[in-house]
Amino acid sequence: MIVIVDYGVGNLSSIQNMLKKAGVDSVISANREVLSGANKLILPGVGAFDTCAEKLQQSGLRELLNEKALVRKTPVLGVCVGMQLLTEGSEEGKLPGLGWIKGNIVRFRRESMADGLKIPHMGWTDVSLAKPSRLFEGMHEEPRFYFVHSYHASLRNQDDVLLKATYGYEFAAALEHENIMGVQFHPEKSHKFGLKLLANFANL
């Protein structure tokens, strides 16, 4: 069973609705037993990095999540700030991330961008695969996803970059390190492409 981790943030039902459309059952839960038994985890997150990091801390689930992801190698998909939490930390805040993927989150560098580009980066943007991934199996058309963010990942190991997108400059739009995956965009709002991605995650 896929468990959407309910640590007190985000739009959990949208993710569950999209999974349902893909014909996949999921539960939204903060229960330790339920999480422990999950064969996949989705870590959501919206808003400020520290708000999410603090709620995650308060949930008391951090150690259990560490064990699931790092010891039991359960596939994890972080979404938006949920993806950002997979890294070591963010310029936006002071609290640490989970640190499962080496690197951190930085604000879009306006000085490296053409004039007139807006921050937040908001809207549909196409992406390109940086390495093969089962998450993108069968995605024939050029996929486009819905992004809303002012910060993006800057990884220490480029092999962990799964998708690249360009907004002012090229940035990591998705991360993958072994069983740990994250997407900066919102698959639950990205129509058929998001549907396919979530279905692929469910079938891993």
């Binding site: 999209m18 919206v46 306006r110 807006k118 921050i119 908001m122 549909w124």
Partner: protein, 250 residues
């Protein structure tokens, strides 16, 4: 490459869409969920739902409607109308809305924008501004355009951005309903003045108007209601047309 967004807007009263809607291929044009699903299928990039219910009592049904909408559509949507506190917003976001649109209540108490941005993040706060040109100045109006204020469009938009709005939805009351095109000059000025995205609203009549809003007005998105509701412009046709004009949409 970021694409330009096309956003149909639905007015909701007591849980039903208002404005006569003449939309092909749906059973119940008054049902916001059905109309929204049709737009999503056609390729709308986002949707805006404006609740124009008169009383707070009736507004309580809004969260239930939002939940129903979220269950059926898989594109981002914004909900607005009568939102005046952090407590109003939480239930809407929990029900599945991606953003909320704030108008009169932010003019009345601008700190609301700071509070909302702190509580939920700037990405979900849309500052809607209705303005009309009076004596060569764009004067901000509230309460559906009925009340004029001492605020001016550009300084208010800038203040909104600084307080935490993630996006500006600018409606020119002079253009709204005229089908004569969007207000290009103030759009371009907003674009140059702000670092957050701007949604153009008011005046869409023909497809060419969208090109003008994107190319001349530099808008990030364009919103319209009746031309979509009445089937005067079909979204797939509009997107094909824009592509031919060199404007990339989804």
């Amino acid at each position: 490459m970021l694409t330009k967004r096309i956003i149909p807007c639905l007015d909701i009263k007591d849980g039903r869409t208002v404005k006569g809607v003449n939309f092909v291929n749906i059973r119940d044009a008054g049902d916001p969920v059905e109309l929204a699903s049709a737009y999503a299928r056609q390729g709308a990039d986002e949707l805006v739902f404006l609740d124009i219910s008169a009383t707070n009592e009736k507004r309580k049904t809004l969260a239930a409607l939002v939940k129903d909408i979220a269950r059926h559509i898989n594109i981002p949507f914004t909900v607005g109308g009568g939102i005046s506190s952090v407590d109003d917003v939480g239930p809407l976001l929990e029900a599945g809305a991606d953003k909320v649109s704030i108008n009169s209540s932010a003019v009345r108490r601008p700190e609301l924008l700071d509070e909302l941005a702190n509580a939920f993040g700037t990405q979900c706060i849309v500052l809607a501004i209705d303005a009309r040109k009076i004596n060569n100045q764009w004067v901000v109006h509230t309460h559906g355009g009925k009340t004029s204020t001492d605020k001016k469009l550009f300084s208010w938009a800038k203040e909104g951005q600084e307080r935490g709005a993630g996006e500006i939805l600018f409606t020119s009351m002079d253009h709204d309903g005229t089908k004569s095109g969007f207000a290009i000059d103030p759009l371009e000025k907003l674009h140059n003045f702000l670092s957050i995205p701007v949604i153009a609203s008011g005046g869409a009549g023909v497809m060419e108007h969208f090109t003008q809003a994107f190319v001349l007005g530099k808008a990030d998105a364009a919103l319209a209601a009746s031309i979509f509701h009445f089937g005067e412009i079909a979204i797939p046709d509009l997107k094909k047309y824009l592509l031919n004009q060199g404007i990339i949409t989804r």
